[in-house]
C-alpha cells in the first residue's frame, strides 16, 4: 500500500523568504499531485506531475518530481501572506485498477509579515 510522507508538517515563514516542502512516497507511484487547502475549505489542485524530472511552476510555487528517489518537492519563492494554507501531496499507485489518491499528512504553512 502506498504511503506518503511530508515534511515539515508545520512551517512558519517570514514574508519574502524561500523554503521547500518535501514529499516522499513508499512504493512506485506513476504520478504525484499537490493540493492546497484553506481552513474548512475544499482541496484545490495545484500541480500534477506525470513523469520523472517533471517540473511545474505557478507564480511563487514550483513543484518537481524525482521518481527514482521517490521524492517530490514544492518550493516556495519570496513567500507572501496569501500563501498561508495547508499543502498536501498525494500519490497514486501505478498499475492495476487503483485510481484513488493517497495523501500525505499535509504541511501547514503560515507566512508572517
Amino acid at each position: 500500500e502506498l504511503k506518503v510522507e511530508q515534511n515539515p508538517l508545520f512551517l512558519s515563514m517570514q514574508e519574502g523568504k524561500n523554503y521547500t516542502i518535501y514529499c516522499n512516497y513508499s512504493t512506485t507511484s506513476d504520478r504525484l499531485y499537490w493540493y492546497r487547502q484553506d481552513p474548512g475549505k475544499s482541496l484545490e489542485s495545484l500541480f500534477v506531475l506525470l513523469s520523472n524530472g517533471a517540473v511545474k511552476q505557478e507564480g511563487r510555487l514550483m513543484a518537481s518530481l524525482d521518481t527514482k528517489a521517490r521524492l517530490s518537492t514544492l518550493h516556495i519563492t519570496a513567500a507572501v501572506h496569501d500563501l498561508s494554507a495547508t499543502y498536501f501531496c498525494a500519490g497514486r499507485n501505478s498499475g492495476g485498477s487503483n485510481y484513488k489518491l493517497t495523501f500525505g499528512k499535509g504541511t501547514l504553512l503560515t507566512v508572517n509579515p
Binding site: G40, S42, E44, S45, V48, F88, L101, G106
Partner: protein, 115 residues
C-alpha cells in the same frame, strides 16, 4: 466550468441517527470518490465508483454505505452515527482514461457534526 456539487454543506445529527450526503460529479466524469477528513487530518479514502460500479474500498466503516446512480450522482449513507464520525466529507470526481492526468476534482465538502 461546472464543479463537483455536494449537499448538504452542513449537517448536525445526534448520536445513533442516520445521515445521507449527496454528490453530483463534474459532467462526463466517470469516477466518483468519497473522502473523510477529520480536524487537522489528511483526507482518508472511503470508497470509489467507476461507471456506477464500486471500484475500490478504503477505510469505510460497515455502518456506512454508498452507491452511484444512473445519472452518475452518488450518495453516502451513514447510520448509527458516532461522535467520531464528525468530519468534513469530500466527494471528488475524475475522468479515468489512459491519457488523462488522473487528477481528482474536489467538491466543497459536507461538514457533519454529531452531537
Amino acid at each position: 466550468a461546472a464543479g463537483v456539487i455536494q449537499s448538504p454543506r452542513h449537517l448536525i445529527k445526534e448520536k445513533r441517527e442516520t445521515a445521507t450526503l449527496k454528490c453530483y460529479p463534474i459532467p462526463r466524469h466517470d469516477t466518483v470518490y468519497w473522502y473523510q477528513q477529520g480536524p487537522g487530518q489528511d483526507p482518508q479514502f472511503l470508497i470509489s465508483f467507476y461507471e456506477k460500479m464500486q471500484s475500490d474500498k478504503g477505510s469505510i466503516p460497515d455502518r456506512f454505505s454508498a452507491q452511484q446512480f444512473s445519472d452518475y450522482h452518488s450518495e453516502l449513507n451513514m447510520s448509527s452515527l458516532e461522535l467520531g464520525d464528525s468530519a468534513l466529507y469530500f466527494c471528488a470526481s475524475s475522468l479515468r482514461r489512459r491519457q488523462n492526468t488522473g487528477e481528482l476534482f474536489f467538491g466543497e465538502g459536507s461538514r457533519l457534526t454529531v452531537l
